[in-house]
Symmetry: C2
Subunit: 189 residues, 2 copies
DNA sequence: AAAATACTGTATGGCGTCGTACAGTATGCA
DNA sequence: TGCATACTGTACGACGCCATACAGTATTTT
């Protein structure tokens, strides 16, 4: 059992499985950024949030959630963490008493600069051996892919007509099998 | 192509341009597959597991974990779920009494066929407007990116400038702890 | 043979995110 | 003006995954 050269063994045919390659790569991206940000005591989400408000100024949490692509509830948690470390600050908005304007503190600005540094360094490393055109082509194809994915998600699970009224409850019984399972032959270890 | 058609607004922050697009796309991939697999009562992980053993026969959980790129503990959970629905089966290995050989049941094989169908349909949709060469180029660049990511992860926090004596231990205490915070000016809502 | 080492699957606790429900606030409409 | 609707941030429960620790089993070393 040697193998394990790079990713897996030779069983996976990446010829057709572009999607799984994509997801694996995304996971690696997150891992790499997390690793590099760990010395700052941050993960990728926290760093992105801090970097964003450091660049664009105080922002409401809903906007942050939109930009970071996570839910409003999750953003609240991240803001809590960063606020507990005095890196950011919740300020009431004079215009809208529902919202917080989340802005950086002085310490937050300093750390944001370090984040920016880490980000630049890592991205430079990731570009090694990849030409500018190739990167642009990659971005273009992925954008196109995103469009297709979006339509695939919003569109009903195939075969259904364009009118989405039929997709009201396509799956009333997700558990088809009886599951009686009288013979539990599971070894106890 | 002014981009931002589908994703967000026109901000397109210089943060993690390509990388964030990649991660957003990966998220969409998972969402799309989950949506299409929902009528079968499965998510992407479960479907991948079932499809794998349907194609390659009984497999140990460690192998499955390696192939699906998740930990052994997580695999155990997924196997439990699928086994509870009588889609797969744990069989003791005659050769090694530590391991289970996870194989499909008859119902599992049937469902695996449906999974394969869903998979083919969705992937065909995702290819719309993307040429074969472009897909191959995408795969190539991502593979290269994976290599760079791998080295970036395993390699120490990089930089390694002439001598980093000044930043020998840049952050021994991630919590600067001015956390006394006597003025909790947080509004109660 | 016995002991040391490596490996497999499981239990446990933790983290990050999601989805839903909710109170407070703003906005549009009668 | 009053009322209905929409929006913001939070609380709560759930899910998926990770990391660690562990007992049982295999494999290698002595």
């Amino acid at each position: 059992m040697t193998s394990h050269l790079t990713t897996h063994e030779l069983d996976s045919p990446p010829w057709l499985r572009v999607e799984s390659t994509l997801m694996a790569t995304a996971r690696l991206v997150r891992t790499a950024f997390d690793a590099r940000l760990a010395p700052l005591g941050l993960n990728l989400t926290q760093a992105s949030l801090l970097g964003y408000i450091a660049e664009f100024g105080p922002t409401t949490q809903t906007r942050l959630a939109d930009h970071l692509d996570i839910g409003r509830a999750a953003i609240g948690s991240v803001v809590d963490q960063l606020e507990a470390r005095s890196l950011i600050e919740r300020q009431p908005s004079p215009a809208d008493r529902r919202v917080w304007l989340v802005g950086t503190t002085a310490a937050g600005r300093d750390l944001a600069a370090e984040i920016s540094e880490v980000d630049a360094v890592l991205r430079a490393e990731l570009r090694r051996g990849i030409g500018r055109e190739e990167r642009q082509a990659l971005a273009w194809v992925m954008t196109r892919l995103q469009q297709n994915l979006q339509t695939a998600i919003t569109n009903p699970p195939a075969s259904a007509p364009p009118d989405a009224s039929s997709s009201a409850s396509p799956n009333p019984s997700p558990n088809p099998s009886p599951t009686n399972d009288p013979t539990n032959n599971r070894r106890e270890k």
